[in-house]
């Protein structure tokens, strides 16, 4: 049954999408932005669940959408048809239906909610040996660190098709929310804390990733591209990624400024464009250090490195008190 429904869901999603998006969006190389064009199992399950919920909820909604116009037409004052029962105000049998049907629908939906929420828990690893990626939210860009590959990127994230990815998130500014709709749901990222997203791409393609939590002027341009590629291509990408720029404290301080990708490139001495920045990671545990900046007890003495905890644009800089 599950299979049948997911088939139907796919079909339905397809119809919906053609209605919404037109054909060009279906082209393989287009930047996908919706979970209705899933590139991974998580998003696929989410879009299937959406259609499931819509279908089940129709049981309680259609009677209203159909019934109200019919009642108004049939019992309109100007030309009424049917009985007039002004004193009628209660019916036990009707009451059972009015309460019973919604209760049953909610019971069914609640069961499915439980099942799908437990199944799609973003903290649940999707398999052994996931690709570890660490995301740091900055104003108005995301920094992705590949600790095992020793590289870091801004504006682009590559993942191998078929291999689970475990994304660990934090921010070094205000709260943000990372969403790669075609692959996975979103989760908030907060300074001094980490959250996790587990997902895997099932087909090659390009997905748009974004921050969905408003965080100022550059919010609308805080986007990045996720490229899902075959494993061999990913290995090549990771090797080519060993660039001349080293992500050390100085480079990080520049990235940490409140700027969009183009301006950050300029700050790093790169040509101004929306091409991604690729860097070699200087300190392998920099992610941990960025998180630890916000923890009094873990911050050893003068370790106000990595740009401190203040708004990088404020005059005071450094220590915040």
């Amino acid at each position: 049954m599950g299979k049948g429904i997911s088939q139907a869901a796919k079909l339905g999603a397809g119809c919906l999408l053609t209605a919404f998006l037109g054909d060009p969006a279906f082209a393989a190389d287009a930047l996908q932005q919706s979970f209705l064009q899933p590139m991974g199992l998580v998003a696929q399950e989410q879009s299937a669940h959406l259609l499931r919920v819509v279908a089940v909820t129709m049981v309680v909604i259609l009677p209203v959408l159909i019934g109200v116009p019919l009642i108004l037409w049939r019992y309109r004052y100007s030309r009424p048809r049917g009985d007039y029962t002004p004193e009628w105000e209660f019916s036990k049998r009707l009451e059972w239906a009015l309460w019973g049907v919604p209760v049953m629908v909610v019971a069914v939906l609640a069961g499915w909610l439980w099942y799908s929420t437990a199944k799609l828990d973003p903290y649940k690893p999707l398999g052994p040996d996931p690709l570890r990626v660490q995301a740091v939210g900055l104003d108005w860009k995301w920094l992705f660190i590949y600790p095992d590959q020793g590289m870091a990127t801004v504006g682009e994230m590559a993942v191998p098709v078929g291999r689970p990815v475990q994304l660990t998130l934090t921010t070094d500014t205000v709260m943000q929310s990372l969403l790669i709709a075609p692959l996975s749901g979103q989760i908030y990222a907060m300074p001094g804390m980490t959250t996790k997203l587990n997902f895997a791409a099932t087909r090659p393609g390009m997905a748009e990733g974004e921050n969905t939590q408003f965080n100022g002027r550059g919010f609308g341009r805080q986007k990045f591209t996720v490229r899902a590629m075959p494993a061999a291509d990913f290995a090549r990408w990771a090797k080519a990624g060993r660039s001349t720029i080293t992500l050390d404290e100085a480079a990080y301080a520049k990235l940490r400024r409140r700027s969009v990708l183009v301006d950050a490139r300029r700050d790093l001495g790169l040509e101004a464009s929306s091409e991604p920045i690729v860097m070699t990671v200087g300190q392998p545990d920099m992610f941990r250090q960025i998180v630890a900046k916000y923890h009094e007890n873990e911050r050893a003495g003068a370790a106000q490195g990595w740009g401190g905890t203040n708004n990088p644009d404020s005059d005071t800089g450094g220590e915040g008190r």
């Binding site: 919906l16 919404f20 998006l21 932005q33 979970f35 989410q46 669940h49 819509v54 909820t57 309680v60 909604i61 209203v64 019992y75 309109r76 004052y77 007039y84 002004p86 009628w88 105000e89 209660f90 009707l94 009451e95 009015l98 309460w99 919604p102 209760v103 909610v106 939906l109 609640a110 909610l113 439980w114 799609l120 828990d121 205000v174 709260m175 929310s177 969403l179 709709a181 749901g185 979103q186 989760i187 908030y188 001094g192 959250t195 748009e208 974004e210 969905t212 408003f214 965080n215 100022g216 002027r217 919010f219 609308g220 341009r221 986007k223 929306s274 009094e296 708004n311 404020s314 915040g320």
Partner: protein, 701 residues
């Protein structure tokens, strides 16, 4: 920054107005900003000029601003709400116009009608205004006007406290309004989530405007909740036991309880954020142990009950009008009471669904997701009950019924998207997207706005003595329905396509057609606003033809229809003895409902007082001074409030006594008028033959 704070005017100087920005740089964004400020200034000047020209200052002060009459306070609340509604709708239109021109690239700076910061102020003020200064005053105003009349009471339990509540709400609204001209508003959205709204990332006056508007008006709403609750518990007419109360009174009771329990959470979260910003506290800062998750938790402990505070009065209105305009008893009274109360209670157990994506475990999300769905059950039952009320009735398609129809058809779609969002697994995708924006507009516009406008239409004759023009009323309703459909259905699509809410720009050209459709919808919304204003104006001009001195234009069943229209300040010449649910209807069935009472007594009414006005002035001064760091004025405003309370506490206050003779004379005149009117049948309801005396032969239900 403290270096530039003057001891006299704080941080104020000549550069804070949008005109400075305009002089600095002329572009569409600064023109819109300066234009908005000019509308505010010109509006205030024009209003003042009209009051002076017509010599209305005195009457305004004596008859309205110092009145402790709940009915007048209710009308003033609604007038305030309609002014703010105009601003909110226009802001919505500017945002739609901006996004329709905001397609950009990642490389180029943002383009479009307004700058990103300006756009952020727009969505922040729009949300703040629509929730706190449109929806809240609309429903509080309507309850103020209707509740005592339906209960058979002369006034609220605490009439002067009621004045103070109105004053505090108006002071908050005033702060939001003045931010158009002096300084800027915050950019953190109506929820103002820290740490973005902390002092580090949002220095300046913007967030403070929001904080003080919320703190001051929130205090007013808390007091209102207490007032409503005590009124319902203690001021019902003899015989008006709980299960005889009209449904609107029941939903008011739910609202009262929820206001009492929910508003303090908002006051606490705002006060904590204020301490962070003003006093260097670290409740919600990034460093020093602050944690913004606490803000989200406390804010939504208020925020979710708030949604049902907004919608329950509308449910009360729909219960009244579905029965009245179908000429039938309300179906399932007990069921509706149970459903309303269940909603009020369950609404306190679902707040976490506003942040399913904050990183908590799946188990927590499942619990709150299911609780959220459960609240859909009583809501659904209510909708079916109203349908059952219309079924086998004789439904007159009046303006309120058009609103009700729009509500039925649109609200269930909002309910569907609500059930969708209640699923954490789907919420992970559409949270923070325009899908969410579409959802809450889809419940709040058909729910709150349609409900309140239907209520205004329904009770307007009771307040002013003449009906509103039905044809224009229906046109307005249809425009609001069409405006909603065209504005917000595209936002559902855009959300599913992956567009985040609050986006000052976007890069996907596929969004554009939907943006155009939404902008067209926003134009319809502007049209609806104009049509609403025109409805009031044309009805006012036609007031002689639309007059209903008989007081019962819709052949109603509840107590408020037994009195003249406009209703006298003492409401009831004699407090009625209630013998049944829908007491006025039962009296009609028994025949001769307009029989004069056996005798008249002196009536004690609360004396007029400027107390509320003075407290409002002090609160506004306090808020404004705190925003601009004018410490002496803040201290003065802060001390003035307890001083005013103490001063009033030490005075001997005599109530106003209306002599029995005056009441008797007015009441006899009313009964003579009714006797002289020709009864109008329901077929004549919209014609000039409807003078407020219905044909009793037709009454049933």
């Amino acid at each position: 920054m403290s270096a530039s704070t003057s001891p006299i005017v704080g941080k104020l100087d000549w550069t804070v107005t949008p005109y400075t920005d305009l002089l600095h740089q002329v572009n569409s964004s600064t023109i819109v900003g300066a234009g908005a400020a000019s509308v505010l200034v010109l509006g205030a000047v024009a209003g003042g000029a009209v009051l002076t020209w017509m010599r209305w200052w005195g009457p305004l002060y004596r008859n309205w601003l110092t009145s402790a009459d709940a009915k007048k306070i209710g009308i003033m609340y609604i007038a305030l709400a309609l002014v703010m509604l105009a601003r909110g709708i226009i802001e919505g239109f500017v945002m739609r116009a901006h996004q329709a021109t905001a397609l950009g690239t990642l490389t180029e700076p943002e383009s479009g009608l307004v700058a990103p910061d300006h756009f952020a102020q727009l969505f922040s003020t729009h949300g703040t205004i629509m929730i706190f200064f449109v929806a809240m005053p609309l429903l509080i105003g309507l309850i103020n006007f209707v509740l005592p009349q339906q209960l058979g009471a002369r006034d609220m339990a605490f009439p002067v406290l009621n004045q103070v509540s109105l004053g505090l709400t108006a002071a908050g609204a005033g702060l939001v309004m003045i931010s158009l001209l002096i300084g800027k508003f915050g950019t953190g959205g109506w929820t103002m989530y820290p740490p973005y709204t902390g002092i580090q990332y949002s220095p300046g006056e913007g967030v403070d405007y929001w904080l003080w508007a919320i703190l001051i008006s929130g205090m007013g709403s808390t007091l209102t909740g207490m007032n409503f609750a005590v009124t319902i518990f203690k001021s019902r007419a003899p015989g008006m036991n709980f299960m005889r109360m009209p449904l609107f009174c029941w939903t008011s009771l739910c609202v009262a309880i929820m206001l009492i329990y929910a508003m303090p959470a908002l006051t606490v979260s705002s006060a904590m954020l204020a301490l962070d910003r003003y006093a260097g506290f670290h409740f919600f800062t990034n460093e020093a142990g602050g944690n913004m998750m606490n803000y989200a938790n406390i804010f939504w402990m208020f925020g979710h009950p708030e949604v049902y505070i907004l919608i329950l009065p509308a449910f009360g209105v729909f219960s009244e009008i579905s029965s009245t305009f179908s000429g039938k008893k309300l179906y399932g009274y007990t069921s509706l009471v149970i459903a309303s109360m269940s909603i009020a209670v369950i609404s306190f157990t679902v707040w976490l669904h506003h942040f399913f994506t904050m990183g908590q475990s799946a188990g927590v999300n499942i619990a709150f997701g299911i609780a959220t769905m459960i609240i859909g059950i009583p809501t659904g039952v209510k909708i079916y009950d109203w349908m059952a009320t219309l079924w086998r009735g004789r439904v007159r398609i009046t303006a309120p019924i058009v609103y009700l129809t729009g509500f039925f058809l649109l609200f269930v779609i909002g309910g569907l998207s609500g059930i969708i969002l209640a699923n954490p697994s789907i919420d992970y995708q559409v949270h923070n997207s325009t899908f969410l924006v579409a959802h809450f507009h889809n419940v709040i516009i058909p729910g709150v706005l349609y409900g309140m406008l239907a209520g205004i239409h329904y009770w307007f004759p009771k307040a002013f003595g003449f009906r509103l023009d039905e044809r224009w009323g229906r046109r307005t309703a249809l425009l609001f329905v069409g405006g909603f459909v065209f504005t917000f259905m595209p936002l559902y699509v855009l959300g599913l396509m992956g567009m985040p809410r609050r986006s000052p720009t976007f890069q996907n050209p596929d969004f554009l057609p939907w943006m155009y459709v939404a902008s067209f919808g926003a134009v319809l919304m502007l049209g609806a606003l104009a049509s609403l204003v025109w409805t009031f104006w044309t009805s006012y001009r036609n007031r002689a033809a639309l007059a209903v001195p008989g007081g019962d234009p819709w052949n109603g069943a509840t107590l408020e229809w037994s009195t003249p229209a406009p209703v006298p300040k003492w409401t009831f010449a004699r407090i009625p003895e209630v013998k049944a649910r829908d007491d006025w209807g039962e009296t009609k069935r028994a025949g001769d409902p307009w029989k004069a009472p056996e005798g008249y007594d002196d009536i004690e009414m609360p004396a007029d007082t400027p107390h509320g006005l003075l407290i409002a002035g002090a609160a506004f001064a306090l808020g404004f001074a705190m925003v601009w760091h004018i410490w002496w004025l803040a201290a003065l405003g802060f001390l003035a409030i307890p001083a005013l309370l103490a001063w009033r506490g030490m005075k001997v206050i005599e109530p106003r006594i209306i002599p029995a003779a005056e009441v008797e004379e007015a009441d006899r005149r009313f009964r003579a008028t009714v006797a002289s009117l020709a009864p109008a049948t329901r077929a004549d309801e919209e014609s000039e033959r409807n003078r407020g005396r219905p044909d009793l032969a037709e009454f049933a239900g």
